[in-house]
C-alpha cells in the first residue's frame, strides 16, 4: 500500500463526509484544471470539465482501490473526460487563444506593467504552440514537463505502457523543439 496523503480523506469521503471530499477538491482542483485546460480550447470549457471530473470521481469513489495515488486516479478521469469532450466536439483544441484577454489565473506577477505584459504575451504564444501539438504528445509533455509526474503515473493517467510513454515524451519534446526553432519569435533554444 502506498503512503498517499489523500487516503485518509478518501476513506472519510467514502464514509459519507462531504467535507473530506471538498478537501480533496481543494488539493487537486488546480492540477486537474491545468491538465484539462491544455487539452481543450478555452478556460471556460476547462472549468466545466474540471467540475465534471470531480463529480465523476465522487460517484465512482467506491471503485478506487487505493493501489495508485489518488492524484493519478483523478487525473485519469480528467484526461478521459477531456478526451471524450474534444472527440465529441470533433476537434483537438488546436486553436490559438485570444491572447489579449487571457490572464494567468490567480498568479501574482512580479515586475512592472510592461514586464508583466511581455511575460503574458510570451506565455500565450507558448500556449498556442503547445496546443498546436497532437493530443498524445501534448498530454505527455504537460504531465511530465509541467506537472512533474513520473513515467508510471503518466502511464496510469493515459492508459499507455511505460515504454510508450517514454517514447512519446522523447518524440513530443523533439517536435516541440522543432516548432519553437521554426518560430519567428526567439525562444532562446540552444543548438
Amino acid at each position: 500500500m502506498l503512503t498517499d496523503p489523500d487516503q485518509p480523506l478518501v476513506r472519510a469521503a467514502l464514509a459519507g463526509e462531504l467535507q473530506a471530499f471538498e478537501q480533496l477538491v481543494e488539493r487537486h482542483r488546480d492540477v486537474v484544471f491545468r491538465v484539462v485546460a491544455r487539452l481543450v480550447a478555452d478556460d471556460h470549457v476547462a472549468e466545466d470539465l474540471t467540475q465534471d471530473t470531480f463529480l465523476r470521481a465522487f460517484h465512482r469513489l467506491e471503485h478506487y482501490r487505493g493501489e495508485a495515488p489518488f492524484r493519478s486516479w483523478l487525473l485519469r478521469i480528467a484526461h478521459n473526460t477531456a478526451v471524450t469532450h474534444v472527440t465529441r466536439a470533433g476537434r483537438f483544441a488546436a486553436h490559438p487563444l485570444d491572447a489579449a484577454g487571457e490572464e494567468i489565473a490567480g498568479a501574482v506577477e512580479p515586475g512592472g506593467p510592461a514586464e508583466q505584459l511581455e511575460r503574458r504575451e510570451r506565455r500565450d504564444r507558448l500556449d498556442t504552440k503547445l496546443k498546436g501539438l497532437g493530443r498524445t504528445h501534448r498530454t505527455v509533455l504537460v504531465l511530465r514537463d509541467i506537472e512533474g509526474l513520473s513515467y508510471e503515473e503518466i502511464a496510469r493517467v493515459t492508459g499507455a505502457p511505460v515504454g510508450s510513454v517514454k517514447a512519446r515524451l522523447h518524440r513530443a519534446r523533439g517536435e516541440f523543439i522543432d516548432v519553437l526553432r521554426n518560430n519567428t519569435y526567439d525562444w532562446e533554444l540552444p543548438r
Partner: protein
C-alpha cells in the same frame, strides 16, 4: 513526483524551463468552483442512490419474471 533522473539535452532543459510558468497557474474562480462541485455532489448523491436502488429492484424483478416464464415454458 519525478522519480527518474533524466539526462536532458540543453534544448530539452530550455523547453522545461519555458513550460515551468504553466505549473503555477490556478483554476479561475477556484473557491467558487469548489463550492459548485460540493453543492452538486450533495444533491446528486441521494438522487443517484435512489436511481441505483430503482435499477437494482428493476433488474431483480426482471430476473424473477424471467425465471417464472422460463419455469412455465419448461413444464
Amino acid at each position: 513526483m519525478t522519480d527518474e533522473a533524466e539526462q536532458l539535452t540543453p534544448a530539452e532543459e530550455r523547453v522545461r524551463a519555458l513550460l515551468h510558468p504553466f505549473s503555477e497557474e490556478r483554476a479561475p474562480h477556484g473557491a467558487a468552483l469548489t463550492t459548485a462541485i460540493s453543492r452538486t455532489a450533495r444533491w446528486q448523491r441521494p438522487v443517484r442512490r435512489a436511481l441505483v436502488a430503482v435499477g437494482t429492484a428493476g433488474a431483480a424483478l426482471g430476473g424473477g419474471v424471467g425465471s417464472l416464464v422460463r419455469g412455465r415454458r419448461s413444464r
